[in-house]
């Protein structure tokens, strides 16, 4: 009298909601763990999940229970050499003897509750509260516009979307499929009739002819009953909604790869961009990224080359800015694109170039840009470029930001600082 059910295909992720509620509740702890992890990790490994430790005390669900003290009895199994009346010294409190018998359902008395969050969750926490600043032209966030796009054909739809050619073609096919047998038979019968009627009238078997004629007319009427166009012949255009960005954004990443940038500095710069890159990829799928690296000459490169190839030589920052200006002119008309730029450098520049940079920025670039962020990675005193940029900042406090970074652990903080959600 048993009933056996296969439930394996039923909803699997029953606990997902509960899990998310849990993550939400312990947001603070998880965020801290994520922040720590980001400053600790190497670049290549930023896209992993993370192990989160939460002190067990913070997680306790409280309920009434007895504390230590009073008169307590316990029954234990496996006696070896105790006899009645033996006295044992009380172990120092805080030892394992505290837990009550039987029902310690809360686990093995671990001090920390440890669990894994996925990469997606990790990044979510990492980018939490961050957004590209000054997205003023058109609010990107959550305001997707949809475009209808042809996406194949469907058997259902509104009359306005009927695809005539396909509908007729499928009706035709159906008619062939439904009638070919009958047509063949009709042909045969007609041939027979023809033969019979071709004979001399005397020899004609009138009865047979009559029967044939009847059969033929019956077949014809059946053929007629096959509809010319049936409901299920109708094919409709299937249209899929596709998000059409109301505003497009392009992010320029500019990095100094000259000889004065040592390996450690490059590493830090790379972190900044990787963070940026992950951030952009994640939040703004409709954002394009242009990588420009420069020493004395600037070059537009692909992502791989940008992060992982080596160059030497002097530094002319303005070359990169000029290249950026060119690219904007060629490919990113201002009406369609929001333009962002981020630059990382050690602060080195040819002395008389800094003035050029200021000019290019103030006259050419900044009026077109939504935001320009500059990080200078150096423990040393600032050089001319920094001072030049400070002037720029005074002129464009809204759209220009600069920060100094000394070591890798600071990157995330600075990153947050620069890209902290701005309420417009």
């Amino acid at each position: 009298m048993s009933y056996i059910v296969d439930r394996r295909l039923n909803a699997k992720k029953k606990s997902t909601v509960n899990r998310q509620r849990f993550l939400k509740r312990y947001r603070k702890h998880i965020k801290k763990a994520v922040t720590d992890a980001i400053s600790r990790r190497s670049i290549t490994d930023i896209e992993h999940g993370e192990e989160i430790h939460i002190p067990a005390d913070d997680m306790k669900e409280s309920f009434f229970h007895h504390g230590q003290g009073g008169h307590a009895e316990r029954i234990l199994p496996g006696n070896q050499d105790f006899i009645g009346g033996d006295r044992i010294e009380r172990p120092p409190s805080g030892g394992g003897s505290g837990s009550g018998p039987g029902a310690s359902d809360s686990g093995q008395g671990e001090d920390e509750f440890v669990f894994q969050i996925t990469q997606a969750e990790f990044l979510d926490f990492m980018f939490d509260e961050l957004a590209l600043p000054n997205m003023i032209k058109r609010q990107l966030v959550g305001s997707d516009e949809f475009k209808l796009r042809q996406a194949g054909f469907s058997n259902q739809g509104s009359p306005g979307q009927v695809d005539v050619v396909r509908s007729l073609r499928s009706a035709h096919a159906r008619r062939i499929a439904l009638t070919s047998g009958k047509r063949k038979k009709l042909k045969e019968l007609e041939q027979q009739l023809h033969l019979l009627t071709a004979q001399q009238p005397i020899l004609q078997n009138q009865l047979e002819i009559k029967q044939l004629r009847e059969k033929i007319s019956a077949l014809k009427s059946r053929l007629k009953r096959v509809p010319w166009l049936d409901d299920f012949d109708l094919k409709y255009h299937l249209r899929a909604k596709e998000p059409a960005p109301q505003a497009k954004a392009v992010m320029f990443c500019i990095m100094d790869v000259s000889g004065s940038m040592n390996q450690a500095t490059k590493e830090i710069a790379k972190r900044f961009f990787i963070l940026l890159y992950l951030f952009i990829q994640r939040n703004y799928q409709r954002t394009e990224i242009v990588f420009i690296r420069h020493h004395t000459v600037a070059m537009e490169v692909d992502e791989q080359e940008f992060f992982y190839s080596r160059e030497t030589g002097g530094t002319i920052v303005s070359s990169a800015l000029k290249l950026m200006e060119q690219i904007i002119e060629q490919r990113y008309p201002l009406g369609d694109w929001n333009i962002y730029a981020a630059q990382a450098s050690d602060g080195d520049n040819w002395n008389n170039d800094s003035a050029v940079c200021t000019e290019v920025l103030c006259k050419g670039l900044l009026p077109k840009l939504q935001y320009f962020s500059y990080i200078e990675i150096t423990p040393n005193a600032h050089q001319l470029l920094w001072h030049a940029y400070q002037q720029v900042k005074e002129n464009f406090p809204e759209t220009f930001a600069m920060e100094q970074v000394v070591d890798a652990a600071e990157i995330y903080t600075v990153f947050r600082e620069i890209f902290h959600k701005q309420v417009i």
Binding site: M1, S2, Y3, I4, V5, D6, R7, R8, N10, K12, K13, K14, S15, N18, R19, Q20, R21, F22, K24, K60, E61, S62, F63, F64, H65, H66, G67, Q68, G69, G70, H71, A72, E73, R74, I75, L76, P77, G78, N79, Q80, F82, I83, G84, G85, D86, R87, I88, E89, R90, S97, S99, G100, P101, G102, A103, S104, F113, V114, F115, Q116
Partner: protein, 507 residues
């Protein structure tokens, strides 16, 4: 009469499960097991973790604590720290049991025997389950609860609902009627009555609190003590009387209370329930082996699992984590059969009525009419005490030492029996806290009394729990620990210093 084995490999199929189930069912019926119909559900390990995380309820409302449970289960499972429970069985009619797809045929058969015939017949037969739970209605009720709470979340926001549930969970164990028999729950009635309840409940609360402004001028001497009798079911008291709760909040309190009540018998019959199920999977599968229905390999794998389930690590082992209810229960159930069939002189002296009786009837009686506490008090035999080498230690804070008060010898048997039974008495193991009074005419504060048991104080999370009660009640909470009519310690929420800062306000 030897028959052909049902299967010879460890692979399972639905046909095989059906075949095994029908054989096991046949043998179980021959032994006289009375069961609900079974619904055997095959699920994946992930689903098993889901079920596990929601304390075995097939439909639970959403709450973060289940997520926490799920995460820790998942983690220890993935790390291999723990095997998943072989089975989860739900006290419902039909009785739902889960089989995990990863298990071998042997394990599936073991689980079928254990859950579908062992636990199932226990649910149907034991007096606690019969009086306190309604197997026919539980699934519907859980569905109602889940829907209701989801609706509340939509209307009032997740965090509002969650905080109420948090608070209810904190005193969930105080949401049961220990002595009164509750009305059986039925989802349909529940739904129909729920609206009426909202109205009448609010009315009742208003009636209670209406006296406040008048009470002051009228006769203070005549002020009644409320509640007239102390109330042990704190959640019930809050549901009916908390002044500030909205009616949906009262309904949530009620849901948590009902579910707590549903699990109450399970908490009281752990040893018996598992012991009974282990006894029967052991007996049933061995009978299958005797009849030639299973192979040697099958029975070896079965015995290996069986022995690890009922293993009791000694107290000084690193694996020791209290007395294993499977082990204790199985030993006792097996021993009852032994006493009936092959009584020794000792047994005749200890169990004159049991010795030599029909074991099936006697065991059935034991299963039907006891809970852990009384079961141990009645049936724990000297032989089991000797086999498990049980001993009793007394840790009294008046003494600087811990005393071994009894071991497995003639002087110790009775003592160990009583002491062990006491450890399974929920009434003693949980602090006895009851609603004592409400200050109807004053600051509306709620006073709880804790009657100390063996001078035991309350644990360290008491103040936290009081905060939860405070959230539900809405006004000051006082809790007094009382030993021999003297208050030994008082807890207040909000802490008393703060409360006294505005004494005039309350009056």
């Amino acid at each position: 009469m030897k028959q052909k084995p049902i299967s010879t490999t460890s692979e399972w199929t639905f046909e095989l499960i059906e075949a095994y189930d029908s054989e096991i069912g046949k043998i179980a019926a021959e032994f006289g097991l009375d069961t609900y119909p079974n619904q055997i559900e095959v699920i994946s390990s992930e689903q098993m973790m889901d079920a596990y995380a929601s304390t075995g309820m097939p439909l639970g409302y959403h709450h973060w604590s289940y997520g926490k449970q799920f995460i820790s289960t998942e983690r220890s499972y993935q790390r291999g720290h723990m095997g998943l429970a072989y089975e989860i069985v739900i006290n419902s009619n039909p009785c739902i049991a889960y089989l995990m797809e990863e298990n071998t045929m042997t394990m599936q058969a073991l689980v079928i025997a254990h859950a579908c015939y062992g636990h199932n017949s226990f649910f149907k037969g034991n007096y606690l389950f019969k009086t306190w739970t309604d197997a026919d209605a539980i699934i519907d009720y859980l569905l109602f609860a889940k829907k209701y709470i989801a609706e509340c979340e939509e209307k009032h926001g997740i965090s509002a609902v969650e905080s109420i549930i948090d608070s209810c969970h904190a005193i969930m164990n105080y949401g049961v009627d220990r002595y009164k028999r509750p009305h059986p729950i039925s989802a349909e009635k529940e739904h129909n009555r729920q609206q009426k309840r909202e109205e009448s409940r609010q009315k009742m609360v208003n009636d209670l609190w209406r006296t406040i402004p008048q009470g002051k001028t009228e006769n203070i001497n005549n002020s009644k003590h409320f509640p007239e009798e102390p109330e042990e079911n704190i959640l019930y008291f809050i549901e009916k009387n908390a002044p500030l709760l909205q009616s949906w909040q009262r309904e949530v309190v009620r849901i948590v209370r009902k579910i707590s009540q549903y699990f109450y018998p399970q908490r009281q019959t752990q040893v018996m329930n598992e012991g009974w199920a282990c006894f029967w999977h052991y007996t049933l599968v061995n009978e299958m082996y005797n009849r030639g229905l299973v192979t040697e390999g099958f029975i070896l794998e079965f015995l290996q699992s069986h022995t690890s389930v009922i293993y009791q690590p000694p107290f000084d082992s690193e694996y020791f984590s209290g007395i294993n209810p499977y082990s204790l229960g199985f030993s006792m159930m097996t021993d009852i059969r032994r006493i009936c069939e092959y009584p020794s002189d000792e047994d005749k002296q200890w169990f004159p009525e049991l010795a030599g009786s029909d074991w099936k009837t006697s065991l059935d009686q034991a299963m039907r009419n006891f809970k852990d506490e009384s079961f141990i008090l009645q049936y724990l035999s000297p032989k089991v005490i000797r086999d498990l080498k049980l001993f009793c230690i007394v840790d009294d804070d008046k003494n600087p030492y811990i005393e071994v008060s009894a071991i497995h010898d003639n002087d110790g048997y009775q003592r160990i029996r009583e002491s062990l039974a006491g450890l399974y008495n929920l009434g003693d193991q949980e602090p006895d806290i009851q609603v004592y009074s409400v200050d109807l005419e004053g600051d509306r504060s709620l006073t709880l009394n804790h009657k100390q048991y063996d001078r035991k104080p309350l644990g360290d999370s008491t103040t936290e729990v009081l905060k939860h009660i405070h959230r539900l009640w809405g006004f000051d909470i006082h809790l007094h620990s009382i030993e021999k009519k003297e208050v030994t310690k008082s807890y207040h929420c909000p802490p008393v210093g703060v409360a006294e800062a505005h004494p005039a306000k309350a009056r």
